[in-house]
């Protein structure tokens, strides 16, 4: 959907080959002792070049010899590499000089205070925007005379901050570089995970930065969990372990999961674990990763029932749960409409149960744990302009957070962070009321005084109204969209597909299936014609947090600060 456009933009945004480029880029915040690749790209083939850190030879300061690669990847520049560098806390000026030209960057290498949190749980609401939050509160808790019928768990946390998500190349991130900022503390560019975007041709060759999952395992021996309802190779979960310029390197990302070996790995995306010759595989090699994980002591589970049964065995320490060939179906489809792939995969877990099982397993570690939980289809359903499905998965995220808060309540040692990775341009604009005269969506839309509360039936014990097919529905407006047909009714037969490929290559047109729905109107897109779906926005997002170390969250912060708060709470940069 969005990635093709994003990739093109990212490639165009490569730095112009004028002066030296130094990675990490200027104003990098680097955890003391964390590994990173120092790379300098010198234009052309300078006869003499010099790289210094605070005036001394860089290789000497880092304690590792530099490698010089003339004409790297045939691109004409000369590359200077120090792999796996690390530095003590301090302010550093790095200068690269060649043939009278000089470039300079400054880095802040920060130490941390001693560890105050035993565990960290990082919840990512992918694409979770203010409108999702408000809509979920209205739909789940109800509203009367301006007062909500209850609170969301994600709202009732003591600390809050506004998080800015821009990347190194653009004011609008994707889920790759936004997650990478949380997991590495470094900003990067669209489609990149755990790397700076240098000139390298190979997506795996760019300068790497260590992820928090690698750090907590290497330095503290902590257990790690990575759980999602998307494909496990998708950008958000991949951000815990991956180093690639190209988030679509799913086959490589499975290998990276295997290398880091988080104790708990759960999601969809099984075809990338199967050897190429297996029907249904998406790998390009013959490696059977299901077998490899089993041999490494993982309980490999394929259903909710199997997941719970394996976790009930006290000896289970490691689990790879793969519950769908693609994404796990969202809450609305799994619990109510039975659409999507529910017929094919009738026993998929709910994110809440994935969290429960993960907490059980990870608590068996004697060194604490780091758990990343993603509710990933909030984003996907917003791309597909399917508000009800996005709202139900926001409620699912809230239920998962509620469970984690209960876990943390009886112990004061767990930092919980709930944060979106980026926003969508959506707003609660009123309610669609079928009793209003006329047939077009705009006839049915009540705004201002006519935006009377929706009439969803009361929510069940899990916070979900049992039906979304009601006469007065919440209206979410989208600010960026492709050509589409719209009738302001929920998509009861399966996820919305607003636009499909047109006859002109690279363009997208309205999905005609939607144009025949009762009351449908044809809406001309306001996005470039190569956009297949609604897009991300560059708006700031809202973070809420509780537990030891969370008091650092207030005001407006860059996304890299989320990493910093986590490593501070864990004392990962203690001298």
């Amino acid at each position: 959907m969005l990635f093709r456009v994003a990739l093109t933009a990212a490639l165009l945004a490569s730095p112009v080959a004028m002066a030296q480029t130094i990675y990490p880029l200027t104003r990098a915040e680097i955890l003391a002792g964390a590994k990173f690749d120092l790379k300098v790209e010198f234009p052309g083939a300078p006869s003499a070049s010099k790289v210094t850190i605070n005036g001394r030879d860089a290789a000497e300061v880092v304690g590792t010899a530099a490698k010089i690669i003339p004409n790297e990847d045939g691109l004409g520049h000369t590359a200077y590499w120090i792999r796996d560098a690390s530095l003590k806390a301090g302010r550093y000026t790095v200068e690269a000089t060649a043939e009278g030209k000089s470039a300079k960057v400054t880095w802040e290498v920060f130490a941390t205070r001693p560890r105050v949190a035993r565990n960290v749980i990082l919840f990512i609401g992918d694409g979770l925007s203010i409108a999702h939050r408000t809509a979920a509160r209205i739909v789940s808790k109800g509203i009367s005379e301006g007062r909500y019928g209850g609170e969301l768990a994600i709202d009732t946390m003591p600390n809050m901050a506004l998080i800015s998500t821009a990347g190194t190349d653009s004011i609008v991130t994707d889920s790759a570089n936004s997650m990478s900022a949380y997991t590495t503390g470094h900003k990067s560019c669209v489609n990149a995970l755990g790397v700076y975007c240098a000139k390298n041709k190979g997506s795996l060759d760019h300068p790497k930065v260590e992820t928090i999952a690698e750090l907590v395992k290497r330095r503290l021996g902590m257990a790690v969990g990575v759980i999602t309802n998307t494909e496990i190779e998708d950008a958000t979960p991949a951000g815990m372990v991956a180093h690639t310029r190209r988030r679509a390197d799913y086959g490589d990302i499975v290998e990276m999961f295997y290398k880091v070996k988080p104790e708990v790995i759960m999601g969809g995306g099984s075809p990338w674990f199967l050897a190429k010759s297996t029907n249904g595989s998406r790998r390009t090699d013959e490696v059977d990763y299901l077998k490899k994980f089993e041999e490494a002591g993982y309980a490999v589970t394929e259903t909710d029932t199997a997941m719970k049964a394996a976790a009930a065995k006290p000896q289970t320490r490691r689990m790879l749960g793969l519950f769908n060939t693609s994404n796990i179906d969202g809450a609305l489809d799994r619990m109510f409409l039975k659409k999507g792939t529910v017929a094919r995969f009738p026993d998929q877990p709910d994110l809440v149960d994935q969290v429960k099982v993960s907490l059980d397993l990870l608590s068996r570690s004697d060194k604490g744990f780091l758990l990343m939980v993603e509710s990933g289809r909030i984003d996907k359903y917003t791309h597909s302009m399917d508000p009800e499905r996005a709202i139900y998965d926001t409620i699912m995220l809230d239920n998962a957070v509620k469970l984690a808060k209960t876990f943390a309540a009886v112990r004061n040692d767990t930092l919980i962070i709930v944060v979106p990775d980026h926003a969508h341009p959506i707003s609660v604009i009123g309610t669609y009321d079928d009793s209003r005269p006329g047939s077009a969506p705009r006839d049915k839309l009540g705004v201002y005084a006519e935006a009377v509360p929706p009439n969803y039936p009361p929510a069940n014990a899990q916070g979900y109204p049992p039906s979304i097919d009601v006469s007065r529905r919440i209206a979410l407006g989208f600010a960026a969209f492709p050509d589409n047909c719209f009738n302001a009714k929920p998509h009861l037969d399966g996820e919305n597909v607003p636009a499909v490929a047109g006859t002109e290559k690279g363009t997208f047109v309205a999905n005609e299936k939607n144009c025949s729905r009762p009351g449908a109107v044809r809406i001309e897109g306001n996005l470039p014609k190569d956009a297949s779906s609604e897009t991300h926005s560059g708006d700031d997002v809202l973070l809420t947090a509780m537990g030891p170390g969370s008091d650092a969250f207030h005001g407006r912060l860059d996304n890299t600060r989320v990493f910093r708060v986590m490593v501070n709470a864990l004392g990962l940069g203690t001298r």
Binding site: M1, F3, R4, L7, N191, E231, E233, D234, R246, R247, A248, Y250, S270, P271, W272, L274, K276, S277, T278, N279, G280, S281, R282, T284, L290, E302, L322, F323, N324, T325, S326, N327, R344, S384, V497, P498, A499, V500, A501, G502, T503, E504, K505, G506, F508, V509, A510, N511, E512, K513, S532, S533
Partner: protein
Amino acid sequence: MRRRALLGGLLASAPARAEGPQQLRFEALYKSFGIRGLVFADEVMSRSGKPVAITGYMAPPLKAESSFFVLTREPLALCPFCQSDADWPLDIVVVYLRRIAPLVNAGVRINVTGRLETGSWADPESGFVSQLRIVDATLRTG
């Protein structure tokens, strides 16, 4: 083109008998579809090498005019080839047309008729790997 030569070869090696195409359905292509892989339905395997027809949607192809495209159960917003993500379905059928045809809007249902091929095959031009193909195919809309 290498593919044309290949298609010629296939035609020569397996001349179609005077047998009507059997209509296949996307919903019935597999007898198992799970985490550890897919298994084709017996009906599909028994039709291998024989004429079949199937209705679906043309995924956006690599080129505006092509003899090679992917047929999907539902209209796709994505191009399986240019898409950097892999967020497209597993239950696809690769189609090699008898002759190059213009692109059909991805929202329009098409019926494809041709000879069924099963087993792993990488398209020599795009590298696209498929397990199920309809070759020497023709298509009509509706």
